[in-house]
C-alpha cells in the first residue's frame, strides 16, 4: 500500500513513514491525533464486533434446531455472556468513542482533544483488555459461563477465566472513563470563538451527556467488580455477596445495574446525537426544537440513573420500591418520545434525499420505536415479572442495540466516511447493505418477542419443541444479517482506493464545522486557521457561498 497518495491527516508526516509502510503504521500506533485515534478505535471495534458476531452465530447455530447440536452445554453457557461483553464493551462503546474522537474536535473547531496523550493511552488499554477477555477461552475451566452480568454466587464459583474477564472489564471501564474525562475537558474548554454550549451540534451534546454518564456510573461497576474479585481471591476474608458470611448476593446486582442501566444510554445517546446530525442534512432543514433535543438528552441521562432496579423486579424487592422504579422508568419514555417526534417534525416539510446515511437514520427511527415501545411494555412491573429473562427481553435489547445503536453507527460511518477518507463510498452497495440489514434485523429479532411471550427463557441451550420453527426463522435471519455486514466492510475498504474524491461539504447541506474542514482534514483539523462559528441560517435560501460554515479569514 502506497502512502504517498494519502492526504490530510492520513498522509505520513516523516520521510521514513513515506518510504516504509511499517514506519507509517508505527506513526499511526503512536499518534496523538484524535482523528487517527478515532479511526483506530473504529477498526478495533469492528474487529471485536466481528468476533462477537461470530459468537452469536454459534448461539444461533446451536438454537437453530431443537436438541443439542454442535457444542456442549458448558461451552454454550459461555456464549451469551461473551457475545454481550464483546458487543457492549468492545464494539458499540469503542466505536462511538472513535466516531466522536474524529468528529467532536472538528465540530467544536478545536485542533485536537484536550489531552492527546491520555487519548492514545485510553485507546491502547483496549486491545490488552480485549485480549484478556478473549483469552479466558484458553485457560483451564474455559471462559466464564455467567452471562455478561456476572451475578454472584455463580461468578464466585466460576473458574479462572472469570478473573481474566473481571480484569478485562475493569480495564475497559478505565479506558472509557479516560475518554470521558478527555471529551468533557475538550468540549468545555476547547470550543472555537462564538460557540457557546447551546450553539454546539447535537452530536457533541450527546457526547457531553454520555461522558457524564460514564464518569458517574462506570466507577460503580469497577467497585462492584473489585469487590467480586476480592471475594473470589480471598474467600476466607471477604463475604460481600455471600449470605453465609453476612453478605448479600443482591447487593452486587444493585451496583452492577447502577452502571449497566446508564450503560444502555451510553450506547444509545451518541446514536441519538448522530441521527440529529444526519436528518437535518438530508432534509435541508434545521433540527426541530434544538434546545428541547439537548435538554431531553440531559433528562434521559438524569432519569437513567434512578431506574436501575427495574432489572431486578423478580429479586424480591418491596412492592413500593418497585412501584417507584416503574414510574421513573416510564418517565424515560417521555423524553425519548419527544426525540422521535422531533426527528419526524424535522423531516416534515423538508426536502428528503435518500442517501445511505439517511436510509440508516430512517431505519433507525422505524425500528428503534419498536424497541422503545417494548421497553414501555417491560417497564410495567407485573408484565416485566412474566417477561423477565425470557426472549422478549432479548428481542427488546436487540431492537435497542442493533436496530438502535448499530444502525446509527452505520449511519454515522457512511455520513462521515467521505470526510475521513476524502473519497466517496459506493452508494449502490451501501443501499444493498441497508436493505439487507433492516430486513434481517426484523426477521431475526421480531420473532423473539413471540418466543418470550410464549415463555422461552433466555440463555437456554435447548428448548421445548414447540419453539423450534421460530428459532429456525431467527437463526436464518441472523446468518444473513451477519453476512450482510461484510458487504459494508468491503465497500468501505475498497472505496478508499476507488471512490470519487469529494469536496469539503460532501453532502452540500452540512452546516456543522466539520464540513468546513478539508476532506480529509489536515493534521490539526483547520490548518492553523482557528475557525469562528457562524450559525448557518437556512431561511435565506440555499446559496453556496453563504451557507458554508466559514473558518475565520
Amino acid at each position: 500500500m502506497s502512502t504517498t497518495q494519502a492526504k490530510g491527516f492520513l498522509s505520513p508526516s516523516t520521510e521514513k513513514a513515506e518510504e516504509s509502510f511499517l514506519w507509517y503504521l508505527k506513526e499511526w500506533f503512536c499518534t496523538t491525533d484524535a482523528k487517527r485515534i478515532g479511526i483506530m478505535y473504529m477498526a478495533f471495534g469492528v474487529l471485536m464486533g466481528i468476533i462477537g458476531g461470530a459468537l452469536s452465530m454459534l448461539i444461533r447455530i446451536e438454537l437453530m434446531q431443537a436438541g443439542p447440536d454442535i457444542m456442549s452445554d458448558t461451552f454454550y453457557a459461555t456464549l451469551p455472556g461473551m457475545h454481550a461483553t464483546l458487543m457492549i464493551f468492545f464494539f458499540i462503546i469503542p466505536i462511538f468513542t472513535g466516531v466522536a474522537n474524529f468528529v467532536v474536535p472538528l465540530q467544536i473547531g478545536a485542533p485536537d482533544m484536550a489531552f492527546p496523550k491520555l487519548n492514545l493511552a485510553g485507546f491502547w488499554i483496549l486491545p490488552p483488555a480485549g485480549f484478556m477477555v478473549l483469552s479466558a477461552y484458553l485457560v483451564p475451566g474455559g471462559a466464564p459461563g455467567f452471562g455478561w452480568t456476572g451475578y454472584p454466587p455463580l461468578s464466585v464459583q466460576a473458574s479462572m477465566g472469570a478473573d481474566l474477564w473481571i480484569a478485562g472489564i475493569i480495564l475497559v471501564g478505565t479506558s472509557s472513563t479516560m475518554a470521558a474525562v478527555n471529551f468533557l475537558s475538550t468540549v468545555f474548554n476547547m470550543r472555537c470563538k462564538n460557540m457557546t454550549l447551546f450553539q454546539m451540534s447535537l452530536f457533541t451534546w450527546s457526547l457531553v451527556v454520555t461522558s457524564f454518564l460514564i464518569l458517574a456510573s462506570t466507577p460503580v461497576l469497577t467497585s462492584a467488580l473489585m469487590m467480586l474479585e476480592l471475594q473470589r481471591t480471598f474467600p476466607a476474608a471477604f463475604h460481600f455477596f455471600d449470605p453465609a458470611g453476612g453478605g448479600d448476593p443482591i447487593l452486587y446486582q444493585h451496583l452492577f445495574w447502577f452502571y449497566s442501566h446508564p450503560a444502555v444510554y451510553i450506547m444509545i445517546l451518541p446514536g441519538f446525537g448522530l441521527i440529529s446530525e444526519v436528518i437535518p442534512t438530508f432534509s435541508r432543514k434545521p433540527i426541530f426544537g434544538y434546545p428541547v433535543m439537548a435538554w431531553s438528552m440531559i433528562a434521559i441521562a438524569v432519569l437513567g440513573f434512578v431506574v436501575w432496579a427495574h432489572h431486578m423486579f423478580t429479586t424480591g424487592i418491596a412492592v413500593e420500591v418497585r412501584m417507584a422504579f416503574m414510574v421513573l422508568t416510564m418517565l424515560i419514555a417521555v423524553p425519548t418520545g419527544i426525540k422521535i417526534f422531533s426527528w419526524l417534525a424535522t423531516m416534515w416539510g423538508g426536502s428528503l434525499e435518500f442517501k445511505t446515511p439517511m436510509l440508516f437514520a430512517l431505519g433507525f427511527i422505524a425500528m428503534f420505536t419498536i424497541g422503545g415501545l417494548s421497553g414501555v411494555v417491560l417497564a410495567s412491573v407485573p408484565v416485566d415479572i412474566q417477561l423477565h429473562d425470557t426472549y422478549y427481553v432479548v428481542a427488546h435489547i436487540h431492537y435497542v442495540l442493533v436496530a438502535g445503536s448499530v444502525m446509527t453507527i452505520w449511519s454515522g460511518i457512511y455520513y462521515w466516511y467521505p470526510k475521513m477518507t476524502g473519497t466517496m463510498y459506493n452508494e449502490f452497495w451501501g443501499k444493498v447493505h441497508f436493505w439487507l440489514t433492516t430486513i434481517f434485523i426484523n426477521v431475526t429479532f421480531f420473532i423473539q418477542h413471540y418466543l418470550g411471550l410464549q415463555g422461552m427463557p433466555r440463555r437456554y441451550y435447548d428448548y421445548a419443541p414447540q419453539f423450534e420453527w421460530a428459532n429456525t426463522i431467527s437463526s436464518v435471519g441472523s446468518f444473513i444479517l451477519f453476512a450482510a455486514q461484510f458487504i459494508a466492510l468491503v465497500n468501505l475498504i475498497v472505496s478508499i482506493k476507488t471512490g470519487d474524491e469529494v469536496d469539503k461539504n460532501v453532502w452540500g447541506d452540512g452546516t456543522q464545522l466539520e464540513w468546513a474542514a478539508k476532506s480529509p482534514p489536515a493534521h490539526h483539523n483547520f490548518e492553523g486557521d482557528m475557525p469562528v462559528w457562524e450559525p448557518v441560517d437556512r431561511s435565506h435560501g440555499h446559496d453556496d457561498e453563504q451557507a458554508q460554515p466559514s473558518p475565520a479569514e
Binding site: 478527555n182 462492584a224 474467600p235 476466607a236 447487593l251
Partner: protein, 223 residues
C-alpha cells in the same frame, strides 16, 4: 498534556484542572460504590454489625484520629507549598512539599501498623486459613477458625474495613508518589512560579484523598 491550550470559549481555567476535576468526580463515584455496598451490608435488617468503637477499642480510635489529624495537616502543608510556589519561593515550596510527603508516609505507616495489629490480634482467622493452597476448603476452614476464636457477628465488618481503608490507602500511596514527582520537579527547576498550576492540580487530588478519608473515618470508625 499542557501543550494543548484552551480555546476561545473556555471555562477560563486550564485543561489540566478540568481534567483533574472530572477525574475526581469519577473517583468519588468509585468510593461511592464501595460506601453504598458498605451501607447496604451494615444497615440491612439483622446484619449483626459489631460496634466499631468496641471492636477497635478507644485507644485504636484515638490512634486513627491522630492519623487523621496528620493527613489533614499534610493538606495544609500542600496549600503552603502551592502558595510559596506561586510566589516563586521555590526553596520553601520544596520544603512544604517534603512535609506533605512525610505526612502521607506517616499516615501510611500508622495504617500499616493498624492493619498488622488487626490481622494478627483481632481477626486471626484471616491468616490461619491457607487460601492459596486450598482455595475450595478455605471458606469452611475460615468458619472453623472463626468458631475457635469465639465467633464474630458479621464477617463483612472486617471485609469492608480492609476494602475501604485499603482502597483509600492505595490512593494515599499514589498521592505520595504524585507529590514526590512534584517535589522532583521543584528541585530540578521544571516547576516554577509560571507553571505552579501543576502543584495546584496535584493539590486537588491530595485534598480529595483527605476529604474521602474523613468520610471513611466517620463511617468505618465513628458511627
Amino acid at each position: 498534556m499542557a501543550d494543548v491550550e484552551p480555546g476561545p470559549e473556555s471555562l477560563g481555567v486550564s485543561n489540566g484542572k478540568i481534567g483533574m476535576w472530572t477525574f475526581l468526580v469519577m473517583d468519588a463515584m468509585t468510593f461511592a460504590g464501595f460506601l453504598a455496598g458498605y451501607a447496604r451490608l451494615r444497615w440491612s435488617p439483622e446484619s449483626g454489625w459489631p460496634n466499631p468503637i468496641e471492636t477497635f477499642g478507644t485507644l485504636g480510635i484515638q490512634v486513627t484520629a491522630a492519623n487523621t489529624f496528620i493527613l489533614i495537616c499534610s493538606s495544609v502543608s500542600m496549600v503552603h507549598a502551592l502558595a510559596e510556589a506561586m510566589n516563586d519561593n521555590l526553596e520553601r515550596a520544596r520544603t512544604w512539599m517534603l512535609v506533605t510527603i512525610v505526612g502521607g508516609l506517616i499516615f501510611l505507616g500508622v495504617q500499616g501498623f493498624e492493619w498488622t495489629h488487626l490481622i494478627l490480634d483481632k481477626w486471626p482467622y484471616l491468616m490461619e486459613v491457607n487460601w492459596v493452597a486450598d482455595p475450595s476448603g478455605a471458606l469452611q476452614a475460615a468458619m472453623q477458625s472463626i468458631e475457635q476464636h469465639g465467633g464474630y457477628d458479621n464477617l463483612n465488618f472486617a471485609a469492608t474495613f480492609f476494602n475501604l481503608t485499603g482502597f483509600h490507602g492505595a490512593h494515599v500511596a499514589v498521592g505520595v508518589m504524585y507529590n514526590f514527582v512534584m517535589y522532583l520537579g521543584l528541585r530540578n527547576g521544571k516547576i516554577t512560579g509560571e507553571n505552579a498550576e501543576l502543584i495546584e492540580i496535584a493539590g486537588l487530588y491530595w485534598h480529595f484523598v483527605d476529604l474521602i478519608w474523613i468520610l471513611v473515618f466517620t463511617f468505618v470508625y465513628l458511627i
